[in-house]
């Protein structure tokens, strides 16, 4: 998982170890820039500019977080920043809004729905894609290059091209509004990225391993399970994170195939909350923050895999 076998990027063909899995990474043979001034702080202006940018980036999130903790009167009458100027408000901060909005907008159900949609839509495509990726990486067959190019082109295709016909088919099958409609759609839409990402990773695995397995009499099926899947875990993980965030944060597919109602995920619940601002800003803020907690936690704890996935194949349909 160090920089030695990282995925070659689309970005920089032939250049090694660009995405080494972490933000700072390992810098092979890099004795520049920092060489002379390791331990020395960066110039003041650099730190100032970056501090300002960070502030700019995080202040909107703070605004939401603070608003979600204020009582109704404070949130209606003053901006969230007055928490800093009139400290008496600090004593009135409350988590009441969360319990209120969860009960009122039925966010508990929406959370369960989001989980129920996201988990299968994330896990099911992995194995299917891994088999296809194996074939593309290690097997010779007629039409391989054409099919691979097809996969690459489909990375660009927007989901909108498929929605209306699928809706009609789903209508005939009577599955509109049910989870399976969203599962299958997300599996289909995510498949080309999955195959592409995992294949790119597998293509960097040493061919000799496969060859020696073959000499030992292992079939492709055995090689896949015993050797390639365990070696490809980083790629499988980075696709899983992509797909998780993608499905969890999706609005379009959910609106089209699930729609508002008893099966709605958090994104749709939040849209309807936003439409009812009369109930109070603090509730909208609490609801908004509630929908973000899980993806932010997943993201922060699995960042390195996410970065690896980004640098490996930077397109997502």
């Amino acid at each position: 998982m160090s920089g030695t076998r990282s995925v070659t990027t689309t970005a920089a063909p032939g250049r090694s170890a660009t995405g080494s899995g972490g933000f700072t990474g390992t810098r092979k043979g890099r004795a520049r820039a920092k060489s002379g001034d390791i331990g020395k702080p960066a110039p003041l202006w650099v730190r100032t500019v970056l501090a300002l940018l960070c502030l700019l980036w995080i202040v909107p999130v703070f605004g939401l977080a603070f608003t979600s903790l204020r009582d109704r009167v404070d949130a209606t009458d003053t901006g969230w920043w007055s928490v800093f100027t009139s400290p008496s408000q600090l004593s009135r901060l409350t988590v009441e809004n969360y319990s209120q909005v969860i009960a009122q907008a039925d966010l508990g159900t929406a959370l369960v729905n989001s989980l129920a949609i996201t988990i299968p839509a994330t896990i099911i495509p992995i194995l299917i894609a891994a088999f296809a990726a194996y074939a593309f990486a290690f097997m010779e067959f007629w039409g391989r290059d054409v099919l691979l190019v097809l996969i690459v082109s489909l990375l660009v295709v927007p989901n909108q091209v498929a929605l209306t016909p699928l809706l009609n088919i789903y209508g005939q099958l009577g599955v509109n509004g049910q989870f399976i409609a969203a599962w299958l759609a997300h599996i289909g839409f995510g498949m080309s990225l999955a195959v592409y990402l995992i294949r790119n990773y597998m293509a960097t695995l040493p061919k000799e391993v496969i060859e020696s397995a073959k000499i030992d009499g292992a079939s492709h099926y055995q090689t896949f399970w015993k050797l390639i899947v365990p070696m490809s875990v980083p790629a499988l993980a980075s696709f899983a994170i992509f797909q998780f965030l993608w499905v969890w944060n999706d609005l379009l597919v959910a609106l089209v195939f699930i729609g508002p109602g008893g099966n709605q995920p958090l994104t749709i619940a939040l849209v309807s909350l936003l439409g009812q601002q009369g109930q109070g800003w603090q509730l909208v803020a609490a609801g908004g923050f509630f929908t973000m907690i899980l993806p932010i936690l997943v993201f922060l704890s699995l960042q390195r895999y996410f970065v690896r996935g980004l640098t490996a194949g930077s397109v997502k349909g």
Binding site: T10, A11, P13, G14, R15, S16, T18, F23, R30, A33, A42, V46, V49, L50, L53, C54, W57, V59, P60, V61, L64, T67, A75, G79, W80, G108, N113, P120, I124, F131, A132, Y134, A135, M139, R144, L147, P158, Q160, A162, T164, S192, Y221, L245, N249, L251, T267, L270, L274, W281, V284, A285, G288, P295, I296, F299, L300, Q303, T311, S314, V315
Partner: protein
């Protein structure tokens, strides 16, 4: 509620288990072929389920959509090119196309400038500071467009004059002596569209930064050393040495952000629903299909969107080929 979770877990078990069984059976099935055929048949068996999913969910529906685009609103009669000529002649749709073009021109460029700036500067920090900075800039990527819309509503919202402003932008604006402005309704100079673009840039800059930072770290140190010894200024080094060497990455980020821009639906849907002259092409599909219930027109919009995508697709494929050769 527990039933839903049990259902989801069952779906995972059935889905994954089903896939395992399927591949196992397919594998056994190919063993029935004469031995010398195995090597020929197996690859197709391995890719079959993935391509079944792709064909069923992208390829087949896409052709169907193309067919719909030549039919009337409920796909019961052919209308030829009527949908296209109606769309292109419609003043509202022309505005939508113009807005989309504006998004394409503004968002990728600004995203890259910001990403480059942050990547370059953060590279000069100590590892701890660099990681911290990058995490903060990267974080919005985990937030849904609806969530981002909610966050930025608290920046753009407006109260009547005389009341305390609870939106940050209006608070600053009135502090400077202005009257409160309904920012998202102000289409003069497409200001409201630009403010919506800010939201997308806020979520995408981290993505650009990560890729560009990785590329900058890959620039060979000797070229930089040589320039420093020659006494080149840091700015000169950046534009004359670093930028040319990371050109490929810049283009990749550019393309990826353009693709994201063309698909942008949720930010506009949540913030203005396309009103006040902020509509974009991906949202207008949704409105035609689900508000106007006009499948023909909606399909034509998607086909137009695909036509815009073709050069990008061609570039993507060319890039991929080059990368394969380099492998």
């Amino acid at each position: 509620m527990t039933i839903k979770i049990i259902n989801a877990v069952l779906a995972v078990l059935c889905g994954v288990g089903g896939a395992v069984v399927l591949f196992y059976l397919l594998n056994k099935l190919t063993d029935l072929f004469p031995r010398r055929m195995h090597e020929r048949v197996k690859p197709y068996v391995f890719i079959l389920p993935a391509f079944a999913a792709i064909s069923l969910y992208l390829l087949f529906p896409f052709f169907q959509t193309v067919v719909y685009s030549f039919a009337n609103r409920d796909s019961t009669a052919w209308v030829g090119l009527q949908n296209y000529s109606d769309l292109l002649g419609d003043r509202g749709f022309q505005q939508t196309l113009f807005n989309t073009l504006l998004w394409i021109l503004v968002v990728p460029a600004l995203t890259i400038v910001l990403g480059l700036l942050i990547a370059t500067l953060a590279d000069r920090l100590r590892p701890g500071g660099e990681k911290f900075t990058k995490t903060i800039i990267f974080l919005p990527l985990a937030i849904s467009a609806v969530g981002a819309g909610t966050i930025w509503t608290f920046i753009y919202t407006q109260r009547p004059p005389g009341q305390a402003q609870i939106g940050l932008l209006n608070a600053i604006w009135t502090l400077l002596g202005g009257d409160p402005v309904a920012w998202l309704q102000l289409s003069t100079g497409r200001l409201n569209s630009l403010l919506l673009m800010v939201i997308l840039i806020w979520t995408q800059a981290g993505f650009a930064m990560v890729l560009l930072s990785a590329a900058i770290k890959g620039v060979p140190s000797d070229t930089l050393e040589a320039a420093r010894i020659d006494g080149a200024a840091e700015g000169r080094i950046f534009f004359a040495i670093i930028v040319p060497q990371i050109r490929a990455t810049i283009i990749t980020v550019f393309i990826t952000v353009i693709i994201g821009v063309l698909k942008t639906f949720d930010i506009v849907y949540v913030m203005t629903n396309g009103n006040f002259n902020t509509n974009v092409i991906a949202l207008s599909y949704y409105q035609q299909q689900f508000v106007n219930r006009n499948s023909g027109s909606a399909a034509a919009i998607v086909v137009l969107l695909m036509i815009v995508m073709i050069p990008i697709m061609a570039y993507q494929v060319r890039q991929f080929r080059a990368q394969e050769v380099a492998r």
